[in-house]
């Protein structure tokens, strides 16, 4: 993912630094996004939305070079925006318009002829599941419908790259699943960057992930590779002082993190026997009360990247 710049890569960042007022939101990041669906993960304040806004040319980097779809963001922001669809995080619409007028208007603003924009608006509204509600004023839409229409306006001009900022925010489970299926379907045809702090969403919809933490790239790569097929994951519950036990595990090359409550997830490298866990526990005087094999998850990737 980082090895060299591919001409087909939709997004290439080289030593990019973005300041948000006095706050340094992105610090000297270099990463290349491959084609397909890429998840942009990170806790709140990690710099995900800032990166998306910088890619659109809405924020000017203090340093570095950004290429989107082969264009330099600093030199050709309008050309980029003509070929990029952006779904903002927050609730947004054009006041006083119904669904189809709103989406067609966005199509026209993106460069489609008026008649084509209207035809395409009907098409994408049906695609996102708002066909029946397309003549209703957008202000009367529910939260889930507003998320769908934001996706529709981002798709109306048929972009080559779709930037989605927290697309499932506020949606009920069914709506959330439908939205992710739509994103998966779109990603089969155009490149998608899905910014989210909801790990299962990224796990479902994306093949690659870039994890941001405090304005830097904590880790990145294909999700399957990052999950580490060669690493075995176990869930442990112990009786006794956890802290020296976890420290002792680290000393023998076994990483771990607290998942919730008293459950510890441990990552045993392929070259180490699982028996080692019990030996360390015995040395530290803690009892293993629960031991279960698990499978690597994106949560593990995230937690290890953030060092939590």
């Amino acid at each position: 993912m980082t090895s060299g710049r591919s001409d087909r890569s939709p997004v290439v960042l080289e030593n990019v630094t973005v300041n948000y007022g006095t706050h340094q939101a992105l610090r000297d990041i270099s990463v290349t996004f491959p084609e397909g669906a890429v998840g942009l993960l990170g806790p709140n304040g990690a710099g995900k939305s800032t990166l998306i806004k910088a890619l659109l040319g809405l924020l000017r980097p203090a340093g570095g070079v950004m290429h989107v779809l082969g264009h330099d963001v600093a030199a050709a922001p309008l050309a980029i925006r003509a070929h990029v669809g952006y779904m903002p995080e927050h609730d947004t619409h054009i006041p006083g318009m119904n669904g189809v007028s709103f989406v067609a208007y966005c199509g026209e603003l993106s460069g489609l002829p008026r008649a084509d924009a209207m035809q395409r608006a009907h098409e994408v509204l049906f695609y996102v599941g708002l066909g029946e509600a397309r003549y209703r004023n957008v202000e009367t839409y529910s939260t889930g419908m507003k998320q769908r229409i934001k996706l529709a306006q981002a798709l109306v001009h048929d972009p080559d790259l779709l930037l989605l900022d927290e697309p499932t925010n506020g949606m009920d489970p069914k709506g959330r699943e439908e939205m992710l299926v739509l994103i998966r379907d779109v990603a089969d045809r155009i490149s998608v960057v899905l910014s989210s702090h909801v790990l299962p969403d990224v796990d479902f919809a994306c093949d690659h992930v870039v994890v941001l933490h405090k304005g830097t790239v904590a880790t990145h790569g294909p999700i399957a590779a990052l999950k580490g097929d060669s690493t075995r994951v176990f869930e442990l519950r112990v009786k006794g002082d956890e802290r020296p036990f976890v420290e002792a595990l680290r000393e023998v090359g076994i990483e771990s993190h607290d998942e919730s409550g008293d459950v510890i997830r441990v990552f045993v490298p392929a070259d180490r026997p699982a028996q080692l866990l019990f030996e360390v526990a015995a040395r530290q005087g803690v009892q293993v009360r629960h031991f279960r094999a698990s499978v690597p998850s994106l949560e593990d990737v995230f937690a290890r990247a953030l060092g939590t």
Partner: protein, 277 residues
């Protein structure tokens, strides 16, 4: 039974970066306003005075005994001055929400994530309001002039009043530009169209009242600069050949300065991302 592709379909038609994106914004803004009956009623009322003036012109040019109705420069000057009240109401009605409503709906980042510039956005919004204001200032004034030619059957009046067409045009344009830019700047300062409307009313009415009080109390004509509308009146007086209260250059500088402040406000406030330093 037909089978339809239900997945995402790509667009095969034409796509281009527009050089007149502002016109898309302006057209949408104008159409939205024209769908409102109350606004159409307001526009209709704004043309009532035109009807009265048209009758006056007809009588003045065709009936000898009604020659006191005969048109002069002052006829058009006073017509434009009287239209100021409609300029005020239309500016508030059609202009207060132009940016404030977009800010309230977080629409700015939506607009600016499209291939349009901030300049396109502002130009589109300005054009929306300016189109309505020109419809109640320059258009009826020029139409009155055309009616005068029609009723008299000659171009004699126009040729004997050579300053009339430029005076009508410049006065109308200044009136429209000042009202549009002031309203747009005030609209960009808030997420509430009510706030923008009240702020504009304050600038227009309150400043005028304060100016009158101070001028009466001190006798100094310079207080006129406190009121943008009355300062514009000074420029208008000069254009129509009426002796202005203060030097027209000063009034013109004041008007242009106010417009420059409005541009600076818009430049600062119309952004997709609010950066708090």
């Amino acid at each position: 039974m037909p089978i339809h592709e239900q997945g995402y379909r790509r667009y095969a038609g034409e796509r281009r970066v527009r050089d007149r994106s502002w016109s898309v914004i302006a057209r949408a803004g104008i159409l939205e306003r024209l769908r409102e009956r109350r606004f159409l009623a307001l526009m209709l009322v704004a043309w009532l005075l035109f009807g009265v003036r048209a009758v006056q012109l007809y009588l003045g040019t065709t009936i000898v005994r009604a020659s006191f109705f005969a048109p002069s420069d002052e006829t058009f000057h006073s017509f434009l001055n009287q239209q100021r009240i409609f300029v005020f109401f239309i500016t508030i009605y059609a202009g207060a929400g132009l940016i404030a409503s977009d800010r309230q709906a977080n629409a700015l980042q939506l607009y600016l994530s499209k291939p349009i510039t901030r300049r396109d956005y502002i130009a589109g919004k300005l054009a929306t309001l300016a189109a309505f204001l020109i419809t109640v200032t320059w258009v009826p004034a020029m139409l009155l002039l055309a009616l005068q030619v029609l009723f008299s059957g000659s171009l004699e009046f126009v040729s004997s009043h050579p300053r009339l067409v430029p005076a009508i045009t410049v006065t109308s344009l200044l009136q429209v530009a000042l009202a549009s830019m002031t309203m747009l700047a005030l609209s960009s300062l808030s997420r509430s169209r009510r706030f923008a409307a009240m702020a504009y009313a304050l600038v227009t009415i309150f400043a005028g009242a304060v100016e009158r009080v101070l001028q009466t109390a001190t006798g100094a004509a310079g207080w006129v600069l406190l009121s943008p509308q009355n300062t514009l009146l000074v420029v208008s007086d000069a254009l129509f050949g009426v002796e202005p209260e203060i030097p027209v250059t000063i009034a013109l500088i004041a008007v242009v300065s106010l417009m420059a402040i409005c541009v600076a406000v818009l430049e600062r406030r119309v952004r997709a991302v609010d950066v708090v330093a």
